[in-house]
């Protein structure tokens, strides 16, 4: 080692630098390790005005950006992380829904109805972080992957006739958003099981153990969702932090479970329920991997106001936040905390949340929340400013019209009055509707009725984006912002359409059932569904409550429409082939026969026969032909008895045939 001193100095310097850099990287490594993959599980229970109970399961798994390029996971499901990495998904939502959310009875103005009420069947939308020309390819691959992952026919969304790219009405995403629905997809356990597999505890422990399949699929409405958001942590966008939200919203009927309790006074009472009575199971402690595990019971604004009115029983209770015996209802478990909504905008009242922490409970002491009503309460849910419904008009198999009707709810008066008392106040309504190509919508026929009066479209439509359908290529899409006066009582939109003809291969199985037009999404950008709670640290720990605090547009989906199209007789092509071929064959055969006919010879033969046969036969034949041609019989010498005999025999035969036909008709058809 005979190095010159300068070199050794440099080497030293290099070594020090290396050391420094290594400690630095080490430090950053520990920093990222501090941010671990997290899992939260929460359940929200809410009594609904129509004697039902809403259960909203919320699971959130978060993977922070790591330098392992998404290959190594501790809690986060590998399949989802690979999906995000592969298709560069910025945001995605997949929902499987059975049943229709009843906006009138179950509410239309809260976070649950705006975010977790979904159209029936499958709805998928995704925002990709790829160049615009690759978005379609990514979407197609994504549909196939999800189809395999969730055992559903999501792959049908691959075809360009099934998805659309809304620009602004559904969600702000310039060009990289794709949206598709399958209204007729049947949802069942085979979709739930892979969804549960994404949870670290699956359905073995924690709140997810409540998910008893028979009670869920017996429910009035259930919607199972998967929401993905990814955020690139560095500039290259390689290391993604992913948040996976899995929610299951179920509307259950607690009274159907119990049969014996039919007291006369109780028929007015709301049904009492407990976790074990609606799910048939109890919670045996939390999922040990979960960072937080809470159950919330929500009493909504209308209910709280009603309780307050009720002879001050509820008011005392709520004001003191204690537990008197004289309350309208009783909880079987004492809540750990009561959260009161901070209500700044609505003057109606504020909702209450009772928080129960599952951490204290275990196998020996299971958690079973029960709610028993003591006095009958009647209340109603908060409604969206306009109640929307959609229906078909017209009859026949040729054309028809789609109508979207918006009717004002009572909320309109009070809240809008507060919003702006002046006459210039406006109510904005976003409408997003996708129509399959075989219903050819004529967008020029758009008619608008405000308060049952036909109005010029231009006066009320602020912004409109129409993408007409292309036959067998893309569906028609309509995005529209309506600007209605605040005092509007009702508004209606109609669009005429022609029904298209499909190629024989394009009909789905059971085509006679009709074709679905997916739900339209109607949102109200002026209104935000959010609940505000007093700020403290414990709220930050609960991702569901922080989700509830986020402002989101009030959104509702309309009904799915069923359009009957002309369906052909599917054996028709073959029948056509057969009949054409038979005609051709007849023609050809007779042509051939004519060609090889020997007229002279046949005549000679006939003559010879006529000469030989002088008997009765020819006479009879000629008589018969004469009878058929309608001429009177010339040779009247022959005895009439034979002809009558023949006639009676013929008649008998004809009768026999008729009897046979009648019998056939009677017995076999």
């Amino acid at each position: 080692m005979a190095l010159p001193p300068r070199w050794t100095f440099l080497l030293h310097l290099l070594a020090i630098l290396l050391l420094l850099s290594s400690t630095k990287t080490f430090g950053s490594a520990t920093d990222t390790e501090a941010e671990e993959e997290e899992f939260h599980e929460e359940l929200l229970l809410k009594p609904l005005p129509d004697r039902k109970v809403l259960a909203h399961f919320y699971f959130e798994t978060g993977a922070p950006p790591s330098n392992s390029n998404g290959h190594h996971h501790h809690l986060f499901p590998k399949a989802i992380s690979q999906l995000v990495q592969k298709f560069q998904i910025k945001e995605m939502e997949l929902s499987f829904t059975q049943g229709r959310w009843n906006y009138e009875r179950w509410g239309g103005f809260d976070t649950i109805s705006s975010n977790y009420a979904k159209p029936p069947g499958v709805e998928l939308w995704a925002v990709f972080d790829v160049p615009k020309e690759q978005v379609d390819a990514s979407w197609k691959n994504l549909t196939h992957t999800l189809s395999g992952l969730f055992c559903a026919s999501i792959n049908f969304l691959e075809s360009s006739t099934m998805y659309s790219a809304p620009d602004w009405s559904f969600r702000q995403a310039s060009g990289s958003l794709r949206y598709g629905t399958l209204p007729r997809e049947a949802v069942c356990t085979e979709n739930l099981t892979p969804w549960l597999k994404l949870l670290p505890c699956r359905d073995k422990a924690g709140l997810s153990a409540l998910l008893d399949r028979p009670s869920i699929y017996r429910s009035f409405y259930h919607s199972q969702q998967l929401h993905l958001t990814s955020k690139p942590s560095d500039l290259e966008g390689l290391n993604l932090g992913i948040v996976l939200e899995q929610t299951l919203t179920v509307v259950l009927d607690p009274s159907s479970q119990r049969t014996s309790l039919t007291h006369i006074s109780e028929s007015y009472l709301q049904p009492s329920w407990s976790l074990s009575s609606i799910f048939g199971r109890k919670v045996n402690g939390k999922c040990v991997l979960a960072k937080s595990s809470n159950v919330y019971l929500q009493l909504e604004r209308g209910l709280v106001a009603e309780l307050k009115k009720n002879e001050n029983y509820g008011a005392d209770y709520i004001a003191s936040e204690g537990f008197d015996g004289e309350t309208s209802f009783e909880l079987s478990v004492n809540p750990d905390r009561v959260l009161k909504e901070e209500n700044s905008r609505h003057g109606i009242g504020s909702s209450f949340l009772y928080e129960f922490s599952v951490e204290k409970y275990s196998n020996s002491k299971p958690f079973d929340l029960g709610l028993t009503w003591k006095f009958p309460v009647i209340w109603s849910c908060q409604q969206a400013p306009l109640h929307s419904s959609r229906f078909l008009m017209g009859s026949g198999n040729e054309n028809g019209a789609i109508a979207i009707s918006l009717k004002s709810t009572d909320l309109n008066d009070s809240s809008l009055g507060a919003n702006g008392a002046s006459d210039g106040c406006e109510l904005h309504v976003n409408i997003f509707q996708v129509v399959p190509w075989y219903t050819r919508v004529y967008y020029h026929s758009l008619q608008l009725f405000v308060d049952d009066q036909p109005k010029a479209v231009g006066d009320f439509v602020e912004k409109m984006h129409v993408l007409p359908s292309k036959d067998k290529i893309s569906p028609g899409m309509m995005e529209m912002v309506l600007k209605l006066p605040c005092g509007v009582k009702s508004a209606a939109l109609t669009l005429e359409f022609d029904k298209g003809f499909l190629h024989i291969d394009e009909y789905p199985p059971d085509a006679n059932q009709g074709f679905d037009i997916p739900s339209a999404a109607i949102s109200f950008p002026d209104f935000h569904a959010s609940m505000l709670f007093p700020r403290n640290d414990s709220l930050k720990k609960s991702p569901m409550l922080s989700k509830f605090q986020e402002k989101s547009h009030v959104l509702s989906y309309t009904e799915v429409l069923l359009v009957p199209l002309t369906t052909p007789d599917f054996s028709m092509p073959y029948n056509v082939i057969t009949i054409t071929c038979t005609v051709f064959a007849l023609y050809f055969g007779s042509l051939l026969n004519v060609l090889r006919r020997r007229v002279g010879e046949e005549e000679r033969l006939l003559k010879r026969k006529a000469a030989g046969k002088t008997g009765r036969l020819s006479e009879l034949l000629s008589r018969l032909s004469a009878k058929l041609s309608g001429r009177s019989q010339e040779p009247a010498q022959s005895p009439s008895n034979s002809s009558s005999l023949i006639n009676s025999k013929l008649l008998l035969k004809v009768l026999l045939v008729v009897a046979f036909a009648v019998a056939w008709q009677y017995y076999f058809i």
């Binding site: 790591s66 699956r202 402690g285 040990v288 082939i577 034979s642």
Partner: protein, 598 residues
């Protein structure tokens, strides 16, 4: 109904009560000419010609019809496929190998008294003996080797065409008690000449008793011993060359020779899973990132030419094993016998390598071999699938009865041990043993293990075998594709399939050529290409979807026209022909009669 209507006209004559008229009694006008049996004119050919021309035109038209309803099939080179596959099957790949042996003496002054030619003959005969003993193995190169010997003493006598230059290695510099240093020293003089030559250094003398044989991490080994004869040295060398360098030190029948755990596209995804049987007892986690960087990455880089390997890991919870274990008093642990292994864990996803942490109820859990012993590694391998290892926490008591379990990290030392077992299992999937000793006929060889998981000579064996396996697989795939295509005449074959088949054949030919030239890496790559293209062609989506357009379908569409028409045409032709024959017979009869009368 149709029958009844057609019947009715024929009824009246039958039902009439009058007896049928007597047959006409016709008297022949002349005795010779009977108009029933004879005719005077020649029967006409007009109608016969007409009907037959119609029939003929139909027959001629049929091929055109078939041509018009024919579906497009890209022409596949069936002949080429057969040629290549018969080529691969009939003459096994001949990889050229270069072997060299260098004889040194610990004392550089003294000379080695060995007869080179005699020795070479002896080695060659031994090598052929070993080769003939073992069944022919694909990817071996014992049929096509060159052997060069060097006596590196004062005289430096060499066999022709040897790579080695005398005096490069000096026995004095090597310390034979430290194998690693010898290995590195030999590596530093570049004995393998760019990865082409396998060499064994035979040192006479040295301070070891008996014979010590070592095979290093690269492409060389050495044998140190004293005073041996030509026969013994020859046998030793032949054994090292054949059994170790060329066959990879494996025994036959360990794992099927042609099996390679590589996917059709030449990719392997190694998925490592940590299974916590019951997280309410304890939760173990691992720092996989570090293991990946330190242990796995060098190995995967070394395996690069054979397969493109990626690694991923996950931790799963609530994965209890699905079969019971029994408590053993003597061992103080739970025993799981190997016969229950198929029911070990039912995984939600199929993993490749699983580290199973048992729950407190069954801790510690040991695996029992069929002979009653306890498995040393506590792991088992499942061929073509991966391996499972059971890892017991140090103290089998729960963290605390009341509180929630804490997340433990498996210590790096433990993890190191676990991954050594996994690497061993991975090697076993490739058919390479992980023992540090190879027991030959004449003694044992100690094998140095590489920190990369695979030594260079092992990688050579793998890449030779891999090439061979890929070529076999691509030829069988193409062969079955060609059989399938030929057996289903109504299957559409798109141009893309044709192209894939063509490229696959080209890649296979290239791999064959490269293999015969001894370019292992290039031939491995092109063989991989050949295989993946062949598989792509075979599993092309268009094959499956269209094979249902069958001949029956075609028949159903065309038969309503052709069946009735063909009946008309055939009957007409038949009748005319019969009539013509009859009339001709009449004419001939008359002619004959006329002759007789005249």
């Amino acid at each position: 109904m149709a029958e009844e209507i057609s019947e009715s006209p024929s009824h009246p004559p039958e039902t009439s009560a009058t007896p049928p008229p007597a047959p006409p009694q016709q008297q022949p006008e002349s005795e010779i000419f009977d108009p029933k049996t004879m005719r005077k004119t020649k029967p006409g050919l007009k109608r016969l010609f007409l009907t037959f021309s119609v029939l003929l035109s139909f027959l001629v038209g049929f091929p055109f019809l078939f041509k018009s309803v024919e579906i497009y099939r890209s022409p596949l080179p069936f002949g080429d496929i057969d040629n290549v596959s018969s080529d691969i099957i009939s003459n096994p790949l001949l990889f050229p190998c270069h072997l060299q042996a260098i004889f040194l003496h610990s004392n550089p002054k003294s000379s080695i008294n060995l007869n080179l030619e005699e020795l070479e003959l002896s080695i060659r005969s031994k090598i052929t003996k070993f080769t003939s003993e073992a069944p022919p193995q694909c990817g071996a190169c014992t049929d096509n080797f060159t052997l060069s010997l060097t006596l590196d003493d004062r005289d430096c006598s060499q066999s022709p065409s040897s790579f080695y230059k005398c005096g490069t290695i000096r026995a004095v510099d090597l310390d034979f008690s430290d194998d690693e240093s010898v290995d590195e020293a030999l590596k530093s003089v570049d004995l393998d000449f760019g990865g082409k030559v396998y060499s064994v250094v035979v040192v006479n003398g040295g301070d070891v008793d008996g014979v010590k044989a070592v095979v290093g991490k690269y492409r060389h080994g050495w044998i140190v011993g004293r005073d041996w004869g030509v026969g013994e040295v020859g046998e030793r060398l032949a054994e090292t060359f054949v059994k170790v360098f060329l066959n990879g030190g494996r025994e036959e029948g360990l794992i099927h020779g042609e099996f390679m755990p590589v996917g059709a596209d030449g990719r392997i995804v190694l998925s490592f899973n940590l299974l916590n049987a019951d997280p309410s007892d304890w939760i173990y986690d691992w720092d996989f990132q570090k293991i990946d960087e330190t242990l796995l990455t060098p190995m995967l880089e070394a395996l690069g030419p054979i397969a493109n390997i990626s690694v991923e890991s996950q931790v799963l919870y609530h994965t209890p094993k699905s079969s019971f274990s029994s408590w053993d008093e003597k061992l103080g642990s739970y025993i799981f016998s190997t016969k229950d292994l198929p029911f070990f864990v039912s995984f939600p996803q199929v993993p490749d390598y699983a580290l199973y942490v048992p729950s407190a109820k069954e801790c510690p859990l040991l695996l029992q071999l069929p002979n009653g012993e306890i498995s040393k590694t506590n792991a088992f391998i499942s061929p073509m699938w991966g391996g499972v290892m059971v890892w017991n926490p140090q103290s089998c008591s729960r963290d605390s009865d009341s509180g929630l379990p804490v997340r433990h990290l498996i210590s790096p030392e433990d993890l190191q041990m676990v991954f050594e077992v996994f690497v061993g299992q991975f090697r076993q999937l490739f058919g390479i043993k992980s023992d540090s000793l190879y027991v030959g006929a004449l003694g044992t060889y100690s094998l140095l293990a590489s920190e990369k998981g695979f030594t260079e000579w092992e990688l050579d064996v793998l890449s030779r075998q891999h090439t061979c396996f890929n070529l076999h697989s691509s030829s069988t795939t193409l062969g079955s594709l060609s059989r399938l295509v030929q057996s289903l005449p109504r299957m559409i074959i798109t141009d893309e399939i044709g192209k894939q088949v063509k490229f696959s054949l080209e890649a296979a030919k290239l791999a064959l050529r490269n293999a015969s030239l001894g370019v292992y890496d290039a031939s491995a790559v092109s063989s991989r290409q050949a295989r993946s293209l062949a598989e792509d062609a075979f599993f092309h989506p268009s094959i499956m979807s269209v094979s249902y357009y069958s001949f029956e379908h075609c028949f159903a569409v065309y038969s309503p026209f052709f069946l009735p028409v063909s009946m008309h045409v055939l009957l007409a032709a038949l009748r005319e022909w019969r009539r013509y024959k009859q009339e001709k017979a009449k004419y001939l009869l008359w002619k004959a009669k006329e002759k007789v009368t005249s």
